[in-house]
C-alpha cells in the first residue's frame, strides 16, 4: 500500500508549495475530526495525524507480534497432547494464532511500515509483545488455563477493537474474534475434564489457574491512572473502554465460570462493588509486569531465541520460493520469445 499524506515536508519546497501542503494538512485534519465525531472509520488512503498513524502502528504491530510469539507456549505441547483429538485441536489453535498474526501484519502494513521491518524489529528484540507469553506452560493443564484465561482476556479486549476507528484494524479483529470463539471453549473444556478427573488432575487444573490468573488480569495493561497511551487511544476511538473497565468485566465473567469448573480463583479479595456496580479484584504486582515487559520475565529470552531460530530455519523456504518464482518468470519469457 502506498504511503502518502505523511506530514513530513521536504525542505526545498517553494512558499506556494508549502502553503498548499499546509492547506492539505488542514483539510485532512478537518476531515479526520469529522470522521471521529461521526464515529466513522479512517481508511488507509485518508489523511491522518502523524501521531494517530504512529500509535496505530505501535498497537497493531505489537498485537501481531503477540500472536506470533503466542504460538510458542502451546506449540510446545502439541507433541505431548494426551489424545489425537486434543492434538488436532491444539494444532488448529496454533494455526489460528499464526493466521491472526498475518491478518494483523497486513493491517499494519497499510500504515506504511513493511512486514520485513516489523519482523526484523521483533527478532532484534526491539519490538514489544504481550507480557503474558513470557510465562512458561508447565503442564497439560496450562493448555486449559491459557485457553480459558488468556484467550478469555484477549477476547474481552478484542471484541471492542472490532469497532476501532481504523478500518483495516477493525476488519482484522472481526475475523480474529470469530475464529477465537473456539479457543476459549476448548481451554475451558480441558479444565472441566481435569477438574472432574482424579484428585491429582483436579489439583493440576487448580495449579494452572493459580499461575495464570494474575498474568491474565495484567494483559489488560496498567491501571488507568498509569496508562500513558490510553487517553489518546480512546479519544481516537481506537480503544473503547479503559484497561480497568475491561479487567473488571473479565473478573466478573471468570467468577461465574470458575464455579462451573468447580475450581477457585486465587484471589480472596474479589467482590462486586454495589456502589460502582463493578467487580473488584485484589492487588496485582505491577512491578512484575514492568519487569516482564522490560525483557526480564521467566521466558523472554527463550521466546525470542525460538523466534530467531524459526526465522533462520525458514530461510531456505523463502529463498527457494523466490528462486522458483524467478525461474517461472524466465521460463515464460523464453516461451513468449
Amino acid at each position: 500500500m502506498a504511503v502518502q499524506n505523511l506530514q513530513s515536508v521536504p525542505a526545498e519546497l517553494s512558499p506556494e508549495e508549502l502553503e498548499a501542503a499546509a492547506q492539505r494538512d488542514a483539510d485532512g485534519q478537518a476531515n479526520f475530526d469529522r470522521v471521529m465525531a461521526e464515529d466513522s472509520r479512517i481508511e488507509p488512503r485518508d489523511w491522518m495525524p502523524a501521531d494517530y498513524r504512529k500509535s496505530l502502528l505501535r498497537q497493531i504491530s505489537q498485537h501481531a507480534h503477540s500472536e506470533i510469539i503466542g504460538m510458542q507456549p502451546e506449540a510446545n505441547w502439541i507433541s505431548r497432547a494426551p489424545s489425537l483429538k486434543r492434538k488436532a485441536i491444539l494444532m488448529a489453535k496454533v494455526q489460528d494464532e499464526a493466521g491472526h498474526g498475518l491478518y494483523l501484519y497486513s493491517a499494519a502494513e497499510t500504515l506504511g511500515q513493511s512486514r520485513d521491518e516489523m519482523m526484523d524489529a521483533l527478532i532484534a528484540g526491539k519490538a514489544r509483545y504481550s507480557s503474558i507469553f513470557n510465562y512458561p506452560a508447565r503442564t497439560w493443564a496450562d493448555m486449559g488455563a491459557i485457553g480459558w484465561l488468556v484467550d478469555g482476556a484477549a477476547i474481552c479486549n478484542q471484541v471492542p477493537l472490532c469497532r476501532a476507528s481504523y478500518g483495516p484494524y477493525g476488519r482484522a479483529m472481526v475475523r480474529v474474534c470469530k475464529e477465537e470463539s473456539f479457543h476459549q471453549r476448548q481451554g475451558f473444556e480441558i479444565l472441566l475434564e481435569l477438574a472432574n478427573g482424579t484428585a491429582e488432575q483436579k489439583q493440576m487444573a487448580q495449579d494452572a489457574v493459580n499461575r495464570w490468573y494474575a498474568p491474565a488480569l495484567m494483559m489488560f495493561g496498567p491501571p488507568d491512572d498509569d496508562s500513558p497511551n490510553s487517553r489518546e487511544s480512546m479519544a481516537w476511538n481506537i480503544k473503547r473502554f479503559s484497561n480497568d473497565e475491561l479487567r473488571s468485566r473479565f473478573v466478573g465473567m471468570m467468577v461465574e465460570q470458575v464455579r462451573v469448573l468447580g475450581l477457585t480463583l486465587p484471589d480472596s479479595e474479589i467482590r462486586f462493588n454495589e456502589d460502582t456496580k463493578k467487580w473488584e479484584h485484589g492487588p496485582l504486582d505491577w512491578n512484575e509486569f514492568k519487569e516482564v515487559l522490560a525483557g526480564r520475565g521467566p521466558c523472554n529470552a527463550q521466546r525470542l531465541e525460538r523466534r530467531r531460530e524459526a526465522h533462520d530455519d525458514g530461510a531456505w523456504v523463502r529463498e527457494s520460493a523466490a528462486a522458483y518464482a524467478a525461474k517461472q518468470v524466465n521460463k515464460q519469457k523464453e516461451y513468449a520469445a
Binding site: A2, Q4, R24, D27, G28, N31, V35, S40, R41, I42, E43, R45, D46, W47, K85, A88, I89, A92, D96, G167, G170, R171, E179, S181, F182, Q184, R185, Q186, F188, E189, L192, E193, M253, E256, Q257, V260, Q328, K331, Q332, Y335, A336
Partner: protein, 145 residues
C-alpha cells in the same frame, strides 16, 4: 483534496491511477501460460476476454459501500487506462450512491484458484469441526463463553 466522490477530481489521482492499462494481450498469450504446472492448485489468470476492436483492457471493479467495510467485487468493465476505468466504474457501479471508494484492477493481474480443483483445494477444513465453537458441547450454557 476531496478523497472520495468528486467526479471531476478522481480520488488522489496521482496514486490511484498510476498503473498502466493492461496491454491488449492477444488470447494466444494467455494460452502460453504453462499449463503443466505440477501443483494441483495451479493458479491461472482470470479468463482474459478478447480486447476487441477498441483494444480496451478488462478491469475488475471493487466497491467499498461505506467506511469501515472492505472493498467488494462488483463486476468488470473495459477501459483504455486506469483513469478511464475508475470513471467508468463510478458511472457503471455507483449510480445509486453504492460506494465511497472504488478500486479497479487489471483483470490480467488477478490470479484465481482453479474451479475444477475446488474439491481438493478446499479439502483441508473438511472434518475439522473442532475449529468451530459449536463442537464444544460440554461448555454449552456457560455464560459469556
Amino acid at each position: 483534496m476531496s478523497p472520495h466522490g468528486n467526479p471531476e477530481v478522481p480520488a488522489s489521482a496521482a496514486t490511484e491511477i498510476n498503473r498502466e492499462a493492461p496491454k491488449a494481450s492477444p488470447v494466444v498469450e494467455t494460452a502460453s501460460v504453462p499449463t503443466d504446472s505440477p501443483a494441483p492448485v495451479e493458479t491461472k489468470p482470470v479468463e482474459t476476454q478478447p480486447t476487441g476492436r477498441t483494444g480496451w483492457g478488462l478491469w475488475e471493479v471493487f466497491v467499498r459501500s461505506s467506511r469501515g467495510l472492505s472493498h467488494v467485487h462488483a463486476g468488470s468493465l473495459h477501459a483504455p487506462d486506469a483513469a478511464m476505468a475508475l470513471r467508468n466504474a463510478r458511472d457503471l457501479y455507483t449510480r445509486r450512491n453504492e460506494g465511497v471508494s472504488i478500486w479497479v484492477v487489471p483483470a490480467d493481474a488477478i490470479a484465481a484458484s482453479d474451479p475444477d480443483s475446488k474439491g481438493s483445494f478446499f479439502e483441508s477444513p473438511q472434518g475439522k469441526d473442532y475449529r468451530h465453537a459449536t463442537y464444544y458441547t460440554k461448555s454449552e450454557g456457560v455464560k459469556h463463553l
